[in-house]
């Protein structure tokens, strides 16, 4: 079938390619006439485009003669659509473009919601973007911390929940949110879990978060949403950058909770190098992270290394990426007692968790004509987990291997239609003495069309068919449709609505695990069925010039056959299809600049996460979450205060009698930019507030950190530190 699809995709554009074409070239600069490197320039309503070089120059060949518009985008700047120009056959059109820095994120180009680049305003689904300046400006220690300010996103320690889709399972086992790197799924094949540490921090260009069911394009696990990490491209010229961070933990507020005289600290160092010459670019990054943790057995040691090779010639772009990670950390399952909450029971003092991952992918984009493009990828993910006993029992864990390939065709049959179609195959191999050896096979085909009904109205219709099989078990077929509508009510106002379904196939771990862990006996359940969901949302976006915006969204999800760990009174755990749930909610977010000195931002999410069968809240879901803050800019200085609040969760699974409190965290950050350097200081959990998000696991105590960033490009990248040049 793939062979036929390839032939079709290759043949059709060859017939339709025009004989006489022209060229478009020019330069993209900022308002101070400085070149913008890596800005995207695309011919509107075609697949043709280019990105700018070190001098900000771009060149697009094969452009069909006639009238055309260019769409130019660059993160941190206002996306610009040029006026209509005319290109004659064989001619070269020169068009320089100046972009204005945008204090708020202005309609950036996103790729996740529709599997092709589109303006954020045209997305029928709710999408949040975390630009690079937010990553560096929030002075994060771990990648997942960058997601905290987003509306609808809640982190229970390392577990991510989008609009209440998930509660808590250690290490995101059976995640209902798909983690992707450049659009490629990277959930572990055995646990279906997320390893946030898998990639060096400096590899991240920006992050796109799609909220609501994404299974109609991405299949299993995208039923709650998608987090897509977009990695940086090799940049023109050569550049070295680094980021170093060192932090220190305070003591607990209560004297009787102090458990050690040692100084507890954390450090990380990130290095990156990029170089491009002609059509070839390379990037390499290295990370080292060490921490003692703030509690007994909280130590961690981590290494990351990655490399990216990029080849871009004419209409062909090839990307190869490899990321390796090794992490060794202590295991803290639960505290010794509420009067000794930073220590583990003596029997758990030697507990450790080791893991190692290797992600590889090769990606080819081939723009065959202004109407046809093909994207082909092969990917591999190898992950292996272990513990302190691995050395004595080396056969206990075997590497999980996931091999995937996908082909996707983009077709613009008419200026008002953009169709995406493709097929995906994935094979998973897993093995462990705890859940046996299993082989999984997934096949999928998908199709989606985006239709501009009128200049102000766009509709999207799509569907994906998945078949999922663990060898020896019965096949599971799923069809997931989706549709959406976006109406632009003027330049600054838009309304969108979407509806779709999602599913998540039970993971090998959930089906077959049989183990004893921390006093719990876990038993298998091979008959687990896939979870399914229906999702609908409606959103409203209002921009106020270039200085403020608000976004409001209402949503509802209906989940069936939710897989949850069920704990009986003997401490035996089994994953079962137990629950039918309905989550209704709303979220609002906004950002505003007052003069050039003050920025305020905030996000509020309220959900009603009901277990329909038990008529109670789903566990570990706070009903109300608030994230808000303010930035004050004084010359080269930036001061930030940020509040994070989550209401007390009404249900937990393991120890319902334990005291629980709402989450109330306040952070202060200070930053100064000097030439290519940025100096940062942060005070996190400033009031030393003690809380648990999961029973008997104390949250992070007050800590302070210094961060030094060397960007090597402050003259060309005014937004790097988070302070826009207005």
């Amino acid at each position: 079938m793939i062979k036929h699809l390839l032939i079709l995709c290759l043949a059709v554009p060859a017939w339709s390619r025009p004989l006489n074409t022209g060229f478009v070239r020019g330069r993209v600069t900022d308002q101070e006439n400085q070149p913008l490197i890596g800005a995207n320039v695309a011919v509107e309503n075609t697949l043709l485009g280019s990105s700018t070089d070190e001098q900000g120059r771009y060149f697009i060949a094969g452009v069909k003669p006639g009238s055309l518009q260019l769409r130019v985008s660059y993160m941190g700047y206002e996306t610009r659509l040029t006026s209509t120009m005319t290109l004659d056959s064989g001619d070269t059109l020169n068009q320089d473009i100046r972009l204005e820095a945008a204090p708020v994120l202005m309609n950036p180009v996103v790729v996740t919601a529709s599997k092709h680049p589109q303006a954020l305003r045209s997305s029928h689904q709710s999408v949040s973007v975390i630009p690079e300046r937010s990553l560096s400006g929030r002075q994060i220690h771990m990648l997942q911390e960058s997601l905290i300010p987003l509306p609808g996103v809640h982190l229970n320690e390392k577990d991510i929940s989008i609009r209440g889709s998930s509660g808590f399972s250690f290490y995101n086992i059976g995640s209902r949110v798909a983690l992707m790197i450049d659009g490629i799924p990277v959930l572990t094949p055995d646990f279906g879990g997320i390893n946030w540490e898998s990639f060096p921090l400096l590899d991240v260009d920006h992050i796109e978060v799609v909220k609501g069911a994404g299974s109609a394009l991405y299949g299993s696990s995208a039923m709650g949403g998608i987090v897509n990490i977009i990695t940086r491209k090799p940049e023109p010229g050569d550049r070295f950058s680094f980021r170093a961070q060192a932090g220190i933990y305070d003591r607990p507020h209560y004297e009787e909770w102090k458990w050690t005289d040692r100084i507890l600290h954390y450090e990380r160092a990130d290095l990156a190098y990029t170089r491009s010459a002609g059509p070839v670019g390379i990037r390499a990054a290295l990370t080292r992270r060490v921490t003692t943790g703030y509690m007994e057995n909280g130590q961690a040691e981590q290494w990351n290394a990655s490399g990216k090779l990029n080849f871009h010639k004419n209409r062909l772009r090839l990307d190869c990426y490899a990321a390796w990670m090794q992490n060794r950390e202590g295991g803290f399952i639960q505290w010794l007692s509420q009067n000794d909450p930073f220590r583990v029971p003596p029997g758990n003092r030697e507990d450790e968790i080791h893991y190692q991952t290797l992600n590889l992918y090769g990606l080819a984009h081939w723009t065959l004509s202004s109407k046809w493009g093909i994207r082909f990828r092969i990917s591999a993910l190898r992950s292996i987990m272990g513990n302190q006993l691995t050395a004595y029992n080396p056969g206990a864990f075997k590497p999980g291997l996931s091999l995937g390939t996908e082909i996707q065709a983009d077709w613009i049959p008419h200026k008002n239609h953009h169709a995406v179609m493709g097929a995906e195959i994935r094979r998973d191999l897993t093995g462990s003495q705890y859940f046996g050896n299993h082989e999984g096979l997934n096949l999928a085909v998908f199709l989606q069309n985006r239709w501009r009904i009128s200049p102000g109205l766009e509709a999207t219709l799509g569907m994906r068919w998945d078949t999922h099989r663990i060898l020896g078990e019965k096949e599971d077929h799923q069809i997931n449709p989706k549709s959406g509508l976006v109406a632009h009510l003027g330049e600054n106002t838009s309304i969108r609505a979407s509806i779709g379904s999602g599913f998540r196939a039970a993971t090998v771990f959930e089906r077959y695990i049989e183990a004893d862990y921390a006093g719990f006996h876990i038993i298998p359940n091979p008959k687990l069925e896939s979870e399914t969901s229906w999702f609908a949302d409606i959103g409203f976006h209002q921009r106020f010039g270039r200085r403020a915006f608000i976004e409001i969204c209402l949503f509802e999800s209906d989940y069936r056959n939710l897989i949850e760990p069920v704990i009986d009174f003997l401490g035996t755990i089994q994953f079962r299809n137990t629950t039918r749930a309905r989550i209704t909610g709303c979220e609002g977010s906004g950002e505003a600049w007052i003069g050039n000195l003050l920025r305020v931002y905030g996000a509020v999410t309220w959900i009603l996460p009901r277990d329909v069968l038990l008529d109670q809240d789903l566990p570990y879901r706070p009903r109300l979450t608030v994230n808000s803050g303010t930035d004050l800019y004084i010359g080269p200085w930036r001061l930030q205060a940020e509040l994070r609040y989550a209401s007390r969760v009404r249900q937990v699974s393991i120890n319902p009698l334990d005291p629980r409190v709402p989450l109330k965290l306040i952070a202060f950050r200070l930053e100064r930019q000097w030439r290519d350097f940025i100096f940062q200081f942060s005070l996190n959990n400033a009031f030393n507030y003690h809380y648990t998000q999961v029973e008997r696991r104390m949250g992070e105590i007050r800590n302070a950190a210094f961060t030094l960033i060397y960007s090597g490009r402050s003259d060309r990248q005014p937004n790097f530190s988070g302070q826009p040049r207005i």
Binding site: D568, L570, L632, F687, Y689
Partner: protein, 269 residues
């Protein structure tokens, strides 16, 4: 504004600020007074308290740290949130086995009569976060868990399992528990075996009891999928071969095994 907030934080540090969770000071304490010898398979012994009896689930019992069971009398401290606790008990745990509610070996309010432990219990009440009740001494009897004999058999199920089945267990009792009397169910049980999975057609059980002592009632118990201990019910029992319909009384030999004590369950009836 940020600077102002920063100054406010520094200034308000000595003031009353919400620091969230705090240490717990309300507690009960006393001694556990052991009788008998701890079995060699003992893993740990703890004191537990529950607001109601039976707790609707096992995780509604709050446990102390492990106590020293090698002495005749061991001091314990159990920190509890303020509130009323209907039962305070001493629970024994065997190596490599989960906590089992039939392994309660002592009760606050229980007493010995002619060397036989009489299960009765008294409530305790902690009024506020500073309440501390000392002298909550608890008698405990290791003889309840010194089990040298075994009863084995099969359980065959006929008919359709209830959809909300969570767990089945086979329990051996020294006397037939009165229906609905949870004190009888949980304190007169000699042993409860939870190893039979629900929805199976047949399962095998093993109850560990004291040899040369009569076991008056061997029952198959059912618990719903919410694992509500207060909704435990009998599915059936081992019948006397000579008097079908009546509970069969067995006396396993000391250090021996009594086999083929088979039970049939008919869901439709």
């Amino acid at each position: 504004m940020c600077l102002l907030l920063f100054v406010v934080v520094l200034m308000t540090q000595p003031c009353s600020i919400d620091h969230g969770l705090k240490p717990i000071h309300s507690r009960i304490s006393g001694h556990v007074l052991f009788r008998g010898t701890a079995p060699t398979t003992t893993d740990q012994v703890r004191v537990g308290a529950a607001a109601s009896f039976p707790p609707s689930q096992m995780n509604e019992i709050l446990f102390s740290d492990p106590i020293d069971f090698r002495r005749d009398s061991a001091r314990y401290e159990l920190y509890l949130p303020p509130g009323d606790y209907e039962v305070v008990a001493v629970i024994w745990k065997e190596h490599n086995q989960p906590w089992n509610i039939s392994d309660i070996i002592g009760l606050y309010g229980g007493f010995f009569l002619n060397d036989v432990f009489i299960p009765s219990f008294l409530p305790v009440s902690l009024e506020d976060g500073d309440s501390q009740l000392d002298d909550i001494h608890i008698p405990a009897d290791f003889n309840r868990v010194n089990r040298d004999a075994k009863i084995r058999g099969s359980v065959t199920f006929f008919g359709t399992w209830p959809k909300n089945s969570g767990m089945v267990a086979v329990a051996a009792f020294s006397k037939k528990p009165a229906p609905g009397d949870f004190v009888d169910y949980y304190f007169s049980s000699l042993y409860i075996d939870y190893s039979i999975p629900p929805f199976s057609a047949e399962g095998f059980y093993q109850c560990r009891v004291r040899g040369n002592e009569p076991v008056a009632y061997i029952a198959v118990l059912w618990i719903d999928d919410g694992f509500h201990l207060d909704q435990i019910r009998d599915l059936g029992f081992y019948e006397d071969p000579l008097e079908p319909g009546e509970p069969g009384v067995v006396i396993p030999p000391a250090n021996g095994v009594l086999e083929n004590i088979d039970i049939q369950i008919h869901f439709d009836s």
